[in-house]
């Protein structure tokens, strides 16, 4: 009798074996919140350190005690600060440009594509000339009493204006990898615009956006070196006075090069790992 169960009994055993797992405890959401808070605190500490290192906040720490390391600390703090500020700004503005580029309104599409073409063809140095020398001429005066902040802000404005075009291109290329069939299927099962975007299109687009976006941000990090020519005391510009003071050329440039590599190489590795993990096999 044990081997030949009635269909109803078989159904019952099958259901018992396939019992649903117990619901997860509510700790999942809390963990994410804790992680975000910790991340924000760490970011805040990093920002404070960078601001102090770059000389924007005066604390009691006597920088001369660092000796020869002082220009490097100052330089790299400024570079990192410049990268963070420009990166944030250009991603925000670039996202706005991308939204304009995919909207159904021809004016916005044309305006966005015109701006992107402009920034693709014009060198960053020309944009620097426009902003750093041009804005004061037009009457835009920022931080008149603090020249360091003034030139830093002008550099951030320039880099954001230039890089946002490339961020927009990266985001647009990410959108274009999502097959239109996805959205059509979402609409076919009755999702409205917000649902289609949030639950179907954006998650897929996000995966495709990260690699080109990462490359753009790495290129932007390297472009911050140009700000050194416009009164921003960042990492590359410390090389000239140090070498002229007689310090060993290879060591000076070596340290700066290693510093930049420490920023760019891990970022490109992280992006490559993400790309491999998030690859969508179609």
């Amino acid at each position: 009798m044990s081997m030949q169960q009635m269909p109803a009994q078989r159904e019952q055993t099958r259901n018992k074996q396939a019992a649903p797992p117990p619901p997860t405890k509510g700790g999942g959401g809390a963990k994410v919140v804790v992680a975000m808070v910790v991340g924000l605190v760490l970011l805040g500490i990093l920002l404070a350190l960078l601001l102090i290192g770059a000389g924007f906040f005066k604390v009691g720490f006597d920088f001369e005690r660092l000796g020869i390391a002082r220009p490097f600390v100052e330089g790299f703090s400024t570079t990192l600060l410049l990268t963070l500020c420009s990166g944030l700004g250009s991603v925000l503005v670039g996202a706005l440009l991308a939204v304009m580029a995919v909207s159904p309104i021809p004016v916005l599409v044309r305006a966005s594509s015109l701006y992107v073409r402009l920034m693709r063809n014009v060198p960053l140095l020309v944009v620097f000339l426009f902003v750093v020398f041009g804005l004061p001429r037009l009457g835009v005066f920022l931080f008149q009493d603090n020249p360091r902040a003034q030139y830093f802000t002008l550099a951030v404005i320039t880099m954001v204006s230039y890089t946002c075009a490339f961020v927009c291109e990266a985001i647009r290329s990410g959108f274009n990898t999502v097959p239109p069939g996805q959205a059509e299927a979402a609409r076919a099962i009755g999702m409205n615009f917000t649902q289609t975007l949030g639950q179907v299109v954006l998650p897929q687009a996000f995966r495709a956006v990260v690699p080109p976006l990462g490359s753009t941000l790495i290129a932007m990090t390297k472009n911050t070196a140009i700000a050194g020519g416009f009164s921003v005391a960042e990492a590359t510009s410390v090389s000239k006075p140090l070498v002229e003071q007689g310090y060993n050329v290879l060591i000076v440039f070596g340290i700066i090069a290693v510093g930049y590599l420490c920023i760019t190489l891990p970022t490109s590795r992280v992006v490559a790992v993400f790309e491999k993990k998030a690859k969508v096999i179609r």
Binding site: L124, L138, K222, N223, A257
Partner: protein
């Protein structure tokens, strides 16, 4: 596969009305922004005829700057191609140690800012090897930096191109007795270069834009010329006209190169029967600023 198809269904009457409203509002906003910008420019006298005249008077400087830009671009392109071929050959070497070293070199040159390399050649090299001091000019530093950086990027492009060739090509080359170097030279590289030509031309655009970095080492190219013109009293300190003219020249140059790349890509698609693999994506390498 346009983004609009992905996001929006064909608009119905309500959506069309809403789009119309947003369109009109956008036109209004843009008109307002452009008008206010022009107002600021003109009220400060930055676009006055006197300043434009100033730029026109200085046309010799602009021409000289343009010539120097083109000179640096051509020299750097030739040098970059040489560097690219050398680096690619090194990366595909038989000996693992050689491969590792060359891969490290390529990663090194790609991870550093171009400005740093140019500074190294201009400020560092003369002190490092005093005998070479009279040889080091801004042009040398600029071309050396550009060649090393763009050469390593091009070597990556070439490597992608070589990877995308059908395996049968290299197998056939070895089957008829060619050695590795000969196979590369006579069979593989010509095909790879032809396949990667659009991507390489796109890299040229980056190279032309980066000649502007000569500004930082006082090489008299276009942006230096604009800088000189803008700070001249007798021309009326024409900052904006000079910068606008230089920007337009760069736009014309780079758009021409862009169209060349597009034409090459179109020709490629007609000639080759191979479907372009993921490796040959002309936009990823060059378009990151």
């Amino acid at each position: 596969m346009s983004a609009q198809q992905v996001l929006f269904d064909a608009p119905g009457p309500k959506a069309r009305r809403r789009n119309r409203i947003i369109e009109i509002a956008s036109y209004a906003v843009f008109a307002l922004v452009v008008a206010s910008i022009l107002y600021v420019f003109i009220s400060k006298g930055e676009l006055s005829a006197k300043k434009w005249n100033g730029v026109a008077l200085a046309w010799r400087y602009l021409l000289s700057g343009l010539g120097n830009t083109l000179l640096a671009s051509v020299l750097a392109t030739v040098a970059a191609v040489v560097v690219a071929v050398v680096l690619t050959a090194g990366r595909l070497a038989e000996a693992r140690a050689v491969r590792v070293v060359f891969t490290a070199i390529v990663e090194f040159f790609q991870g550093m800012p171009l400005v740093l390399m140019i500074f190294f050649f201009y400020f560092g090299f003369p002190r490092l090897i005093p005998a070479l001091q009279p040889l080091i000019s801004p042009l040398f530093a600029l071309v050396a930096g550009l060649a090393l950086y763009n050469g390593s990027v091009m070597s990556e492009v070439l490597r992608a191109g070589l990877d995308s060739l059908p395996k049968g090509q290299s197998e056939a080359a070895y089957a008829i007795g060619l050695q590795k170097g000969q196979a590369l030279q006579y069979v593989l590289l010509p095909q790879a270069i032809r396949a990667m030509l659009p991507s390489l031309v796109a890299q040229l655009i980056v190279l032309v834009k980066d000649t502007a970095l000569g500004y930082l080492v006082l090489y008299f190219e276009l942006t230096r010329a604009a800088d000189l013109i803008r700070s001249t009293y007798s021309l009326g300190f024409p900052l904006f006209p000079a910068t606008i003219v230089v920007a337009v020249i760069f736009i014309i140059l780079n758009e021409a190169l862009h169209h060349l790349a597009g034409w090459l890509e179109g020709r490629q698609r007609n000639i080759t029967e191979n479907i372009e693999t993921d490796a040959i994506v002309p936009t990823t390498v060059a378009d990151h600023g």
